[in-house]
C-alpha cells in the first residue's frame, strides 16, 4: 500500500514539475515570438518619424538661427578694438591735456595735444588745455609751510608765500566736463569736432578732417572773433623723428633719456639760494608726502626755431615713414628734441589757418633747389608740388 501511495505521489510530482517547466518556458517563448515583432514595430515607428522629417524646415530653421547668431555677434556685441577710419583717424580723449591720438593704418603715429598747443590771448601765451591743482604742502619743526615740487632730478622745496587754498591753474581751458567731441562720418570723409566749452575765449576747439583711404588730413583751430586773440601754436608729440627743413638742413633727433637708480635729491630753495641742508623732521615730512623711490631721469636733446621754412618733414628712419607738416600761414616752426614736442605757429587773421599732415611710406628723400624731392610708391616729385596737390584736393 505504501508502495502504491509512493508511485501516486511521484506521478503527481512529475506532473507538477512538467507544468512548472512549461510555465517557466513561456516568457522565453513569448520573448522569442514577440521581440522581433516589437523591434520591427519600434523601428517602423522611428523610421516613421525619420521619414516624416522635412529637410526644407531643417534647412530653413538652421539658416534663420545661423543668421540670428551672426547678426547678434555683429551688432549687439561690442568689438574689442574700435574701428579706425582708413587710412588716418583720431581718437580724442577727454582726459588731462586733451590728447588726440592720430592713427595711421591702425597704429599710433603721433599725438596732437591741448597741453602742448599754445594760445596767445591778451598778450599772454599759455597752454590751450591745462589743469588745475592745489599746492602740496609740508611743514618743518617750527610749523613753517613749504611747497613741494617733484622734478626729474630733484624734489624742490620753497617757502609758502601764497594762499595754499588758491588753486594753481595752468592753461586757458581746464574743465574736462565741458569738452564735447562730435564725429560725423560719410562715405568718403570723416569730421571730428572738439569743443572746449565756454570761458573767456568763446567757441574754441579743433576741427579734424579725414579723407577715405588718403594718407593725409588737416586740423584747424577755431575761436570766435576776438581782438585779444594772438598766435596759436599747434603742438604735437612725435617720438623718434628727425626734422628736415625746406633749405635742406637735416636735424637729427638727439633726444636721450637715461634712467638712473638714484633717489632724487631734496633741495630747499630759500631767499634765492638752493641748499640740501635741511632738518631731519622736514626731510621725513617730505618723504612721507612724496614717493622718492623713483628713478632719476636725465634728459637731453636740442631745440630749434625755424621761421624761413614753408614746411617741415618729420622722418622716422626706423619705420621709414615721413610726415610732411604744412600750414599756409605758418609763421614759425619750433622743434624740441628734448621733449619730442613740435609746434607750428599760425597768426590770427580773422581765424586760424589749418595745418596739413601728409604721411609718406618708405620715401627716398633728395634735396635740390630749396625743396625736397620724394621717390615713393605713393608719390614722386617735389614736396611743394605734393602740398599744392593735396591742398587743391581737400581745400
Amino acid at each position: 500500500m505504501n508502495k502504491g501511495k509512493k508511485d501516486e505521489w511521484e506521478e503527481e510530482f512529475e506532473k507538477w514539475r512538467k507544468e512548472s517547466q512549461k510555465k517557466a518556458a513561456k516568457p522565453a517563448e513569448f520573448h522569442e515570438i514577440y521581440s522581433s515583432q516589437i523591434k520591427e514595430e519600434t523601428r517602423e515607428k522611428i523610421s516613421g518619424v525619420e521619414k516624416s522629417i522635412n529637410k526644407k524646415w531643417i534647412v530653413l530653421g538652421s539658416i534663420v538661427l545661423v543668421l540670428a547668431a551672426v547678426l547678434i555677434i555683429s551688432f549687439a556685441t561690442t568689438p574689442p578694438v574700435e574701428a579706425k577710419f582708413k587710412d588716418i583717424d583720431v581718437i580724442v580723449k577727454d582726459t588731462t591735456g586733451l590728447p588726440g591720438d592720430i592713427y595711421y593704418k591702425g597704429t599710433n603715429l603721433f599725438t596732437l595735444t591741448g597741453w602742448e598747443s599754445k594760445l596767445e590771448y591778451d598778450g599772454k601765451e599759455d597752454r590751450l588745455f591745462g589743469k588745475e591743482s592745489y599746492k602740496e604742502l609740508v611743514f618743518d619743526e617750527n610749523g613753517e609751510a613749504y611747497t613741494v615740487i617733484s622734478l626729474d632730478k630733484e624734489i624742490r622745496l620753497e617757502p609758502l608765500t601764497t594762499n595754499p587754498e588758491e588753486v594753481t591753474r595752468i592753461g586757458w581751458f581746464t574743465d574736462l566736463e565741458k569738452i564735447t567731441v562730435n564725429e560725423e562720418t560719410s562715405w568718403d570723409e570723416k569730421k571730428v569736432d572738439v569743443l572746449l566749452g565756454s570761458g573767456e575765449i568763446e567757441g574754441a576747439g579743433f576741427d579734424y578732417n579725414f579723407y577715405k583711404k588718403k594718407p593725409y588730413f588737416k586740423i584747424k583751430f577755431n575761436a570766435d572773433e576776438n581782438e585779444k586773440l594772438g598766435d596759436f601754436a599747434y603742438g604735437f608729440t612725435m617720438k623718434g623723428y628727425d626734422v628736415l627743413l625746406e633749405n635742406g638742413t637735416w636735424l637729427k633727433n638727439d633726444n636721450e633719456v637715461v634712467e638712473i637708480e638714484q633717489t632724487p635729491e631734496i633741495i630747499l630753495n630759500k631767499s634765492g639760494s638752493a641748499t640740501t641742508d635741511i632738518s631731519d623732521e622736514l626731510r621725513e615730512n617730505v618723504l612721507n608726502k612724496i614717493n622718492v623711490n623713483q628713478k632719476v631721469t636725465t634728459r637731453s636733446g636740442s631745440a630749434s626755431d625755424v621761421s624761413d621754412s614753408k614746411y617741415e618733414i618729420f622722418y622716422n628712419p626706423e619705420e621709414e615713414k615721413a610726415i610732411i607738416v604744412y600750414s599756409p600761414e605758418s609763421a614759425q616752426f619750433k622743434n624740441s628734441f628734448l621733449w619730442n614736442v613740435f609746434w607750428v605757429y599760425t597768426p590770427y587773421d580773422d581765424g586760424y589757418a589749418p595745418v596739413y599732415f601728409i604721411v609718406v611710406e618708405e620715401p627716398e628723400l633728395l634735396h635740390g633747389g630749396n625743396d625736397w624731392y620724394i621717390e615713393s610708391e605713393q608719390y614722386a616729385g617735389s614736396v611743394n608740388d605734393y602740398i599744392s596737390k593735396v591742398v587743391g584736393e581737400i581745400g
Binding site: 523601428r43 522611428i46 523610421s47 516613421g48 518619424v49 525619420e50 516624416s52 522629417i53 522635412n54 524646415w57 531643417i58 534647412v59 530653421g61 538652421s62 538661427l65 545661423v66 547668431a69 551672426v70 547678434i72 555677434i73 555683429s74 556685441t77 561690442t78 568689438p79 574689442p80 578694438v81 574700435e82 574701428a83 579706425k84 591702425g106
Partner: protein, 134 residues
C-alpha cells in the same frame, strides 16, 4: 527623465534636434574660419567681431547638439576615395597654414609644418575609420 510625446510633438522635436546639430556645425566652421583669419589679420577681426561672444554662442549650440543628439538608423559607409582626398587636402592645408605662421623660424618651420600636416592627416584618418572598426 523621459517624456511621453505625441507623434506630432516628437516630429517637431526631431526637427529641432536636426536644427541644433546643423547650426552647431555651421557656426563651428565659421568660428574656426574667423580664428584663422584673426591669426593673420588681427585688426580686421578685432574691429568687427567680438570673438568671445561668438565662442559663447558656439558652445551653447554645441551643448544642445550633444544633449539632444539626432536619432539615426545606422548606415554603414565605406571609407572611399573622397575621404582619402579629404584627408590629404586637410593635411596639406594644415601644413601650409602652420608654415605661413612659422616661416620666420627657418628650417625648423619647414619641419614643424610637415609634422603638423602629417598629424592632421593621421588624426583625420583615425576619425574617419573609427566607426568602421566599431
Amino acid at each position: 527623465m523621459r517624456f511621453n510625446l505625441s507623434y506630432e510633438e516628437r516630429r517637431v522635436w526631431e526637427h529641432a534636434k536636426y536644427i541644433f546639430s546643423y547650426v552647431f556645425q555651421t557656426l563651428l566652421i565659421l568660428f574656426l574660419i574667423v580664428l584663422l583669419v584673426k591669426e593673420f589679420y588681427p585688426s580686421f577681426i578685432d574691429t568687427r567681431i567680438n570673438v568671445n561672444w561668438f565662442m559663447l554662442i558656439v558652445i551653447v549650440f554645441g551643448a544642445l547638439s550633444i544633449l539632444f543628439p539626432v536619432e539615426k538608423t545606422e548606415r554603414k559607409e565605406e571609407f572611399n576615395l573622397r575621404d582619402k582626398l579629404l584627408i590629404i587636402g586637410l593635411g596639406v592645408l594644415g601644413a601650409a597654414i602652420i608654415f605661413l605662421k612659422l616661416k620666420e623660424l627657418g628650417w625648423i618651420g619647414y619641419v614643424i609644418s610637415i609634422l603638423g600636416g602629417l598629424i592632421i592627416a593621421l588624426l583625420s584618418w583615425l576619425l574617419l575609420t573609427e566607426n568602421d572598426e566599431h
